[in-house]
Subunit: 260 residues, 2 copies
């Protein structure tokens, strides 16, 4: 009574592409790994400013929804890698190191998947751009103007510029009111930052980049989604072209070209 219409389909090799996605490896990070990455990224991005203090362990583990011992694994690792400093005693705490260890070399996986990382960034930032046009309030955008000025002023100091750049993009994401997009924007910036720190940033490039920030903000302020989108695309393409020139065209997919 079974003998279903069954599936000869195509013998495994020529499977429909969507199935390769469905059956792709399921890799669930451990709580420790995710915590380490979250905190590490936040530090590297400058979201946690050097010298600032993290919440006490007993409070933080509650917020993160993990056991204190698990949190401590991550903290200990970050202390050993020099990103954090632990100070004992009353009034002590865990502090972000003021002399960050130089950015690690981009990991092999990241280099191999840099195009995917850029693609993901494009998607997130476009969503942010459009939604910010609909939802951002003046109050949301004001601090972003200040960031643009700060970037203009600190154009010689690349780490500082980059930090403000990250804050700008994440700030725009916050203006959408979507927690998920904020998280995605943060993650995406984290993925890019190791790559970005390894490419040249001539003054003119940074200046132009910041002009684009201003254009973007103007478009968002005016609620002009079309302009925000095209500006964002250009803005992101800058990084991408540089990377494309430097890095091996890793995957097989991008030799494809549109033939129309």
């Amino acid at each position: 009574m079974n003998a279903p219409t069954a599936t000869p389909a195509s013998a495994n090799g020529g499977e429909h592409p969507s199935l390769t996605t469905i059956f792709a490896p399921v890799r669930s990070q451990t709580a420790f790994e995710e915590t380490l990455e979250r905190l590490g990224t936040a530090i590297k991005l400058g979201l946690l400013e050097p010298g600032s203090r993290l919440p006490a362990e007993r409070e933080l583990c509650g917020r993160l929804g993990i056991a204190r011992s698990t949190l401590r694994q991550a903290l200990t690792a970050l202390v050993q890698s020099g990103h954090l400093r632990a100070v004992r005693g009353r009034g002590g705490g865990t502090f972000v190191s003021e002399s960050p260890p130089g950015a690690a070399d981009p990991s092999a996986e990241l280099l191999a998947g840099w195009r995917e990382a850029c693609d993901a960034r494009l998607a997130v930032e476009l969503g942010v751009a459009v939604l910010a046009c609909e939802r951002a309030t003046r109050a949301d955008l004001e601090p972003l103007h200040e960031l643009i000025e700060a970037m203009d002023a600190g154009i010689e100091d690349f780490p500082g510029y980059r930090r403000d750049d990250v804050l700008f993009h994440i700030g725009l994401a916050e203006a959408t009111g979507s927690a998920r997009l904020v998280a995605a924007a943060t993650e995406v910036q984290g993925a890019m930052t190791d790559l970005i720190s390894y490419i040249a940033h001539p003054r003119e490039v940074l200046e132009w980049s910041n002009v684009q920030h201003a254009h973007l903000l103007q478009a968002v302020g005016a609620g002009d989604a079309a302009r925000a989108v095209s500006t964002m695309i250009d803005h992101l393409a800058g990084t991408e072209h540089v990377l494309a020139g430097l890095l091996p065209a890793a995957t097989s997919a991008e030799t494809r070209r549109h033939d129309a």
Copy 2:
């Protein structure tokens, strides 16, 4: 020697918003949960056609990178819920049920977070639209034309229409060559499908929706990113407006309006 510049900052309550993201709960799904969701979604979306056979357990667990016992937990759950049928003996296997159990009521979390789900969909689909414009080949787009025809023909059969709709959007994602976007598109469709199945779909709406599909495909074929984006925004707004009318405006964030 410590006594860092420390962080009075703002007493916890008025914390910078980005920190709430960083310190948000870290909830890593178990391998079992993720597998269950992946397979369940694929079935509900029709990516695994009714009657089709899954790879043998011993092969599938290898592909998913999990132990067979873990895989079986998920399979057993799906058998019990009626999504799958298990057939023993040589030539047997695990088959997608031909009489799917009616779509479950949208879960409470989904209803609460429907706007976030729509936001995520917007981001993913915009990224897909833009990248497809750059990268899609004629061969990628051909099957999508067929899907549009199929939707036109089957406009009276909503489940069928919806299935082709999903395949269209995922197919477009595949045309970008970005595995990550394909996965994201699949996930996003899965999140929407429960919601969508609970709203009305008058014939005219579906027809117009499919006209938008055609416009979209035309724009992508011409490599016209701006038009692809604006078409996609309109296309997605359709669903969103209907949902906004039906569902309580859950979160606090969306009472915000742009005051410019």
